[in-house]
Amino acid sequence: MNTLKLRTTRTLAFFCVTTFILASCDSDKNEIDTEYPVIDISAANAFPIQCSQVTRGQKITFRAKFTDNTQLGSYSLDIHHNFDHHTHSTEVNNCISDPIKKPVNPMLYINSVTIPTGQKNYEATQEIAIPADVDPGDYHFMIRLTDKEGWQTIKGLSIKVL
């Protein structure tokens, strides 16, 4: 009886220990990339930045610095109206917005660029023409950056079209 009890206790202890070992191996790391790429618009020539203003009929040049720990993927730029104040920005400071209005011919710009393979750092530049006939007002400028593995960082800026 006693030996049976002892054996049982031992078996139980064994299972507890194994389970504990099992449960504690989860900190194991495969060498996989778990880092997000970075959008840097702090440089002096970066454009646009929060609250930038652009003029209709002119060309602007988008400039930003992208970095990633392994390899950059692609980026997309998206300019759409914010006349209804539906969206806000990722930045800390807010810009002064115009009153809410209905869109008539709002500007819409969507473009995507695949970053050449093997890049950890990339200076992105992109010329964008602001058509002369679009509605002026508050717009939203979105930058979406991915790395090769599919990690994505978003930056949303508020700009004004004059």
Binding site: L12, I21, D28, S76, H88, S112, E149
Partner: protein, 808 residues
């Protein structure tokens, strides 16, 4: 890295090896016989008599007579089960070679009582007779652990998690698999909603659930496609006792989301005819989280008074079942309607994180504004079982309609016009509509040949899916499935049980083409033209599959061991084959692959159980391999047309390996105090494809729950309990884009319950304090995890159940 991995595998193999430990029991034989009678002293034919602890089973003949020849000497008792009667247990006298019992008279059951009695015997017996890993819980477990939805109430079971959507909706996550990889069966019919959507809850009324059986592993051989990861089987409610009219009232209140709700049940039965009905209503406000700012991706969103803006909801359900029951024939018709309306967190829906009218939203915490979902699920089914010679047959016919609408402000993207056209086929705020109708039929035959217990079944299902709304994600489609299976359970002797099953399946899916309602600008050779783009083309795919499963149970004395090896499969769904649109919850563009093959899985399940007077230990490890797991892969690309610059996610197939285990330990310190440890561990890894080395999405972290339970005897009270649960969730560092690492967390839950007896009337009272210390923590498998939303703040749940009998 490889060293680490092989270490872990070695540990795992070691663990499996331990299951080979075997104990021997010597066995001399005696015989037992007796007769079973109803309380009207009529002999009961077909009563199930089980011998314990060997679990040998026999049934009574026409005269109510049973006989066990040659039983093991360690036999301690027999139990008698008969539908409509309480479980009856008789202890066996010691040291006799032949036992003839006097007449055993069964007591009719009253529904409420039955649950408590079922708990110990039924659950234990099922576990010993199935080679798959099964957990069974009843409605008192649900009342004790009541969460916002059925699956949330079941989360305490190791290996069972949920993907929760706010406070009122959730879907099952069994060992890390969910969506269309886990099926839910209610009253024998496969529940068909829009399981593919992470934001879609399960349309089940948890008050109407009496008993749930959870199969933690592939069960395609019983249920067909989709049961590749497991099954949640909600059993039909037991029939009321004869000549009884009764019911119950449930009332529930929750502090966190100021929920109040309840359910009224009324049932009755004459000799042969019976009915059961239920009405459930619930209303809740925005739920609260222990934070004042949420970071939706990089957008900071302030919360008003910790309320998660626009997560209020309501639910209204009704059920009626009626039927006829004799010893030879039982036929039941079930009709139910589940309606729910609930809001989505307003700042995290659309093409990008949104600014909302906070003045409008924060005015009331109970209103449901845009965006919100509204779902109606209707079920009509009939289950008829009867005896034909030595065959026990069961037929099931079912019809379901799942009607889901998701409302959101119109946001033009791609080349959609900035102002919504007046003459559109869908209202301006109807973002998406899914309308699914399913007809299903199944026939099952159970019979025994010598020590083989066979189950043969065929089932067929036909579904139609229509879509509407101004946005597009998946096309309309029709689907047909049919399956045929044979299952043999073979009792070798008192200790050994073998299982074998084969199944053949056929499935066909016909997807319709979908063309945009607006023209897009296409530039070719510097020529720009406007065209109505086709998002998805007409496509028909057929799939066939052959699956098998083999298992063994070995139940020596206090131990029981089980092993099961089998294959499972899943047909790709319309979303995986043909989606081509924006998922507004995750700000991403999802693309299907029309060439995907059917998913296949191989799984080894093991189980070890040990029970003594004070201890009980259960360990259930598993190993699983998918040669072609269907996975939604985040690419580095963006879609600049319809996707408005959002990141593209594409369906792909990759090799996947998964393994893990659950451990349950209970110890009875004194007759009043018991403790338990419930632990779970899961590891998944993609072995090929573009995310080789990564895990699968929604992988639950390892966790341990320590529970302490005190059941004092108090005068005028019955079944009193106090319990404290402490759950430790390990950090989840194994992630795949776009997930984030989740830190470890410590959560405490407190529960109390009792039955107050006042005269003839019982009041069953239960109280819970969830998240006792108002801890701010993240749940890795929550729908809102990606936007860094902490789990709900402290929540006090009070519920009262008042059973009543009007006529007996």
């Amino acid at each position: 890295m490889h060293k680490n991995k092989s270490n872990r595998l070695r540990t795992f193999c070691l663990l499996l090896f331990c299951l080979a430990i075997v104990t021997k029991v010597s066995a001399q034989m005696v015989r037992i016989s007796g007769s079973i009678f109803s309380n009207g002293l009529k002999p009961l034919e077909g009563a199930i008599v089980t011998l314990h602890p060997s679990n040998k089973i026999t049934t009574t003949d026409k005269a109510g007579h049973f006989l066990f020849n040659q039983i093991p000497t360690d036999s301690k008792s027999i139990t008698v089960r008969y539908s409509g009667y309480l479980l009856h247990e008789v202890k066996l006298p010691l040291n006799k070679n032949a036992i003839v019992f006097p007449a055993i008279v069964l007591t009719p059951e009253i529904k409420e009582l039955q649950e408590v009695i079922i708990k110990d015997s039924y659950e234990a017996r099922r576990k010993k007779e199935e080679s798959l890993t099964i957990e069974t819980v009843n409605s008192s477990f649900i009342q004790r652990n009541l969460g916002g939805s059925l699956m949330q109430s079941l989360q305490r079971i190791p290996g069972v998690k949920t993907i929760s959507i706010g406070s009122g909706g959730s879907k099952p996550l069994i060992r890390g698999l969910s969506f269309n990889q886990v099926i839910v069966v209610e009253n024998g019919i496969k529940h068909e909603g829009q399981q593919w959507g992470a934001d879609h809850g399960l349309e089940i009324d948890q008050y109407a659930v009496n008993r749930v059986e959870i199969i933690k592993g592939p069960s395609s051989f019983i249920y067909g496609s989709d049961a590749i990861g497991g099954a949640v089987n909600i059993k039909p409610i037991p029939l009321p006792a004869k000549n009884v009219l009764g019911g119950s009232v449930d009332l529930t209140g929750k502090s966190n989301n100021e929920q109040f709700g309840g359910s009224v049940n009324l049932f009755g039965r004459t000799e042969k005819w019976f009915f059961d009905s239920r009405l459930t209503a619930m209303d809740y406000g925005d739920y609260r989280v222990p934070t004042d700012t949420v970071h939706v991706y990089n957008y900071a969103v302030p919360l008003y008074k910790n309320h998660l803006r626009n997560t209020a909801g309501r639910e209204l359900d009704w059920h009626i079942s009626t039927g006829y029951s004799t010893e030879k024939l039982k036929s039941v018709v079930y009709v139910s309607n589940i309606y729910s309306k609930s809001g989505f967190f307003a700042n995290a829906h659309g093409l990008e994180p949104r600014n909302v009218d906070t003045a409008l939203h924060d005015k009331s915490s109970r209103d449901i504004l845009m965006p919100f979902q509204e779902v109606t699920h209707i079920k009509i089914s009939n289950t008829t079982s009867f005896r034909l010679g030595s065959h026990q047959l069961k037929t099931q016919l079912g019809f379901q309609k799942n009607f889901r609408r998701e409302y959101s402000h119109y946001v033009n993207h791609g080349y959609m016009p900035p102002v919504y056209p007046a003459a559109m086929y869908a209202p301006q705020d109807l973002e998406r509509q899914y309308d699914k109708e399913v007809f299903s039929v199944a026939i099952k035959d159970e019979f025994s040949i010598r020590n083989h217990q066979f189950t043969v079944g065929v089932n067929g299902e036909q579904q139609q899916n229509k879509i509407s709304g101004w946005s597009f994600l998946i096309p309309a489609f029709k689907q047909v499935n049919a399956g045929l299976f044979v299952y043999d359970k073979m009792q070798i002797n008192d200790l050994w049980l073998l299982h074998g099953a084969v199944r053949m399946d056929y499935g066909r899916i016909e997807m319709q083409q979908y063309t945009d309602w607006f023209p897009s600008e296409i530039t070719e050779n510097d020529q720009t033209s406007a065209e109505y783009l086709q998002r998805s083309s007409a496509l028909t795919r057929t799939f066939g599959s052959f699956n098998w499963s083999a298992g063994v149970n070995y139940n020596p004395g206090k131990w029981s061991f089980k092993a099961n090896l089998g294959t499972s499969f899943r047909m790709p769904i319309a979303k995986e084959l043909a989606s081509n649109g924006v998922n507004y919850h995750y700000f991403r563009f999802e693309k299907g692959d029309p060439n995907l093959g059917a998913e296949r899985s191989y799984q080894l399940d093991l189980g070890m159980d040990w029970k003594s007077n004070k201890w009980s230990v259960q360990l259930s490890p598993f190993f699983n391999y998918f040669p072609n797991y269907i996975y939604l892969n985040p690419t580095s690309q963006h879609d600049i047309y319809y996707g408005a610059g959002n990141q593209v996610f594409e369906y792909e197939q990759s090799k996947v390996m998964r393994y893990g285990a659950e451990l349950q330990m209970r110890y009875q310190f004194t007759p009043q105090v018991s403790g338990e440890i419930l632990a779970e561990y899961l590891y998944s890894e993609q072995l090929s494809g573009s995310k080789k080395g990564y895990t699968l999405p929604f992988s639950p972290p390892a966790s341990v729950l320590f529970g302490l339970n005190y059941t004092p005897e108090i005068k005028n009270l019955k079944d009193t309990y106090f319990s404290l649960d402490y759950r430790y969730n390990a950090a989840q560092n194994q992630i795949v884009p776009p997930e984030k690492k989740t830190a470890s967390s410590n959560v405490f839950n407190l529960a109390f319950g009792t039955k107050v007896i006042a005269g003839q009337q019982d009041f069953i009272l239960s109280m819970q304090v969830q998240n006792l210390f108002n801890t701010k923590y993240l749940n890795h498998t929550s729908f809102y995890r990606l936007i860094e939303l902490p789990e709900a703040s402290r929540n006090i749940i009070l519920s009262l159940k008042i059973p009543f009998l009007m006529h007996k």
